[in-house]
């Protein structure tokens, strides 16, 4: 089954990537100045108390041994304990992960709900008013930095209109603003991709041929043309989904949405070595799975793309 061979090969490549990610994460966080032991102790800690804390955290051993211990743990499934939370990294990570997942899924729904249809319609009705409106929607969306968009959203919906709570984690109404802040730029990108994709596809011979077969317009556009225009969308939106599984630090900081982005930012601030390394590994792992899924979906959509 060459399909299983492809998945196997891909997993092997992912393992290599994860290995490099772990090495680079391990090195990067240790290069950054600051010693986790001194951060955990109050200012007036004496030298040997710091030494003892380092021994407790296992930082006194030579770097290579530390790496081998860490990787040994990872292979056994123990991703180390966070210095700050004094709890296994998996528990800390997955207590925050549902929030980031909810935010990412909500973002995807917004993007699929308004990005794709708008893009398709703009592609079909090229040059008309709808096309112009869609282009403005897309261009505005792509030129909004999420810092500015978040601030604007808070100002309009929370401070001025007061409809939505601006911050904190909770039910649906807490989710709307951050999801909108992340969803709008992504749906703008999707809209543009959808539009250019449709324009290219509608020029093709087989569309004229399908029309020549008397197939009604809505079927021609929404089924036969759309499936061809889908591939660039799936690739970009999929990779964004993978990226945002790592959480968006800016949006989570502004909306106090305690997700992975905020956790990672704090962990780096506190030089929580094992939490940072393991979080990066987990995020890289998830991204790899998502990229694998994208390739499979692409291969399903377009037979010309072979799972080499």
């Amino acid at each position: 089954m060459y399909f299983l061979r492809f998945v196997g090969k891909r997993i092997l490549q992912t393992v290599i990537v994860l290995f490099f990610v772990s090495v680079i994460a391990f090195a990067l966080i240790r290069i950054a100045p600051g010693n986790p032991a001194t951060l955990l102790l109050p200012d007036n800690a004496t030298e040997e108390q710091i030494q003892e804390k380092e021994a407790e955290l296992g930082l006194d051993k030579p770097v290579v041994i530390q790496y081998l211990n860490y990787m040994g743990g990872v292979l056994r499934g123990d991703l180390g304990t966070s210095y700050n939370y004094q709890q296994p990294v998996t528990k800390v990570f997955f207590s925050r992960f549902p929030n980031t997942l909810r935010l990412t899924v909500a973002m995807m729904l917004i993007c699929l709900a308004c990005g794709i249809p708008l893009g398709i319609i703009a592609g079909i009705k090229q040059g008309t008013v709808i096309d112009f409106v869609a282009m403005i929607f897309a261009l505005l969306g792509q030129s909004m930095s999420n810092v500015w968009l978040a601030v604007l959203n808070i100002y309009i919906f929370a401070v001025w209109l007061g409809w939505l709570p601006s911050v904190g984690v909770g039910g649906m109404e807490y989710l709307i603003l951050p999801a909108l802040t992340l969803g709008y730029p992504l749906s703008a990108t999707t809209c543009r991709l959808g539009r250019s994709g449709m324009i290219d596809v509608l020029r093709e011979d087989y569309i004229t041929c399908t029309k020549a077969k008397g197939i009604p317009d809505y079927l021609v556009y929404c089924k036969y043309a759309f499936k061809n225009a889908l591939i660039p969308i799936v690739t970009v939106v999929g990779s964004q989904f993978g990226l945002f599984l790592g959480g968006s630090v800016v949006v989570e900081t502004i909306f106090s949405w305690s997700g992975i982005g905020q956790l990672l930012n704090q962990a780096i601030g506190n030089r929580d070595y094992e939490l940072v390394q393991s979080s990066l590994l987990l995020i890289a792992c998830m991204c790899a799975v998502v990229y694998l899924l994208i390739d499979i979906i692409n291969a399903l959509i377009d037979p010309r793309i072979t799972l080499d």
Binding site: T208, C209, A212, P303
Partner: protein, 323 residues
């Protein structure tokens, strides 16, 4: 017997960014039910435009200035979207030139045939699949390949699928736009054999568009020679091939190597094809015509009937002397 298809004085222009090209300049042909007509001419003579106009499928840049396309007496250009969609693929179907790009790459071959059956004949998916298998068999493709994708087929096989899709609903008129141009000779012969067979079985009338005179002589009863958007000579194949009257037709036939005569050089027509963006005045062919007369340069020649089965548009035969 009333005409199946009648094109009257059709004028079509393409407005592109560069300039506007006059693709058709008052073209007229008629087609009786069951008749097979060959439309021949060099590239840019407006053959494909004619085919697309019949189905009212001109691309965004194409504009129909005047003229009518009557199918069963009904003007196709004035039809509503609903009527058009019912006609296309059901009463008139078309086979495209380049098989590599005329099949949707992301759908199975079966789907591209079944969609016509499902839409026009309202077949259930199961039933449509069976019928599609029969159609594939009829065009010489093994039925089990129904669920494969176009990418897995060769050029010739894809063209067969196009044909299968075209004849799915037993159309009254089949338009074939240079079906074999992109294929090599051996496959060409098979395709032509197939079309001849289908024509006899289903009595569909055929509009064969090609620049290959050999195909015309084999398949068609009548032939219409087109030049710069007009039909300059029309008649039965025997008549026109035996007595080519229009200088352009003579040039075309002269260009063919003939096994019997041992000619050293083939006659070729001097000059280049008329440029649609700036057509010459009067008779479009006069810059390349050896018998060019004074009036050819100024006036547009009118169709002259040499006999009841042969018409030509050239001032040489004005006096009806019929050389």
């Amino acid at each position: 017997m009333e005409n199946l298809l009648e094109i009257k004085n059709l004028r079509v222009v393409y407005k592109t960014e560069r300039a506007t090209g006059q693709a058709l300049n008052g073209m007229s042909i008629t087609l009786k039910p069951g008749e097979s007509l060959g439309l021949v001419g060099e590239a840019g003579a407006g053959k494909t435009t004619t085919a697309l106009s019949i189905l009212n499928l001109l691309p965004r840049a194409g504009h129909i200035l005047e003229g009518e396309v009557l199918f069963h007496g009904k003007n196709v250009l004035k039809m509503s979207k609903k009527e058009l969609q019912n006609m296309r693929g059901h009463q008139i179907s078309m086979i495209f030139q380049n098989p590599l790009t005329s099949l949707n790459p992301v759908f199975t071959v079966g789907e591209q045939i079944e969609m016509v059956l499902r839409h026009h004949l309202h077949m259930k998916p199961k039933q449509a699949e069976e019928r599609a298998k029969e159609l594939l068999e009829s065009v010489g493709i093994p039925a089990y390949r129904l669920h494969e994708y176009p990418v897995q087929f060769s050029g010739g096989m894809r063209q067969r699928v196009g044909i299968a899709a075209g004849i799915a609903c037993n159309p009254e008129l089949l338009i074939a736009d240079e079906p074999t141009t992109a294929l090599d000779v051996t496959i060409q012969a098979q395709i032509l054999e197939l079309m001849k067979l289908l024509q006899e079985q289903h009595k569909t009338s055929l509009l064969m568009i090609t620049h290959n005179l050999g195909i015309i002589s084999e398949l068609c009863e009548n032939v219409a020679v087109m030049y710069a958007g007009r039909v300059i000579e029309y008649g039965s194949v025997e008549e026109v091939f035996a007595h080519p009257s229009h200088p352009y037709t003579r040039g075309l036939l002269g260009a063919l190597p003939d096994m019997e005569k041992n000619q050293e050089r083939l006659t070729s027509i001097p000059g280049t094809v008329a440029d649609a963006q700036n057509l010459p005045e009067g008779c479009r062919f006069h810059p390349r015509c050896e018998h060019c007369m004074e009036q050819c340069r100024s006036k547009q020649p009118y169709p002259i009937a040499l006999n009841h089965r042969h018409m030509v548009e050239c001032f040489m035969y004005e006096g009806g002397d019929g050389q």
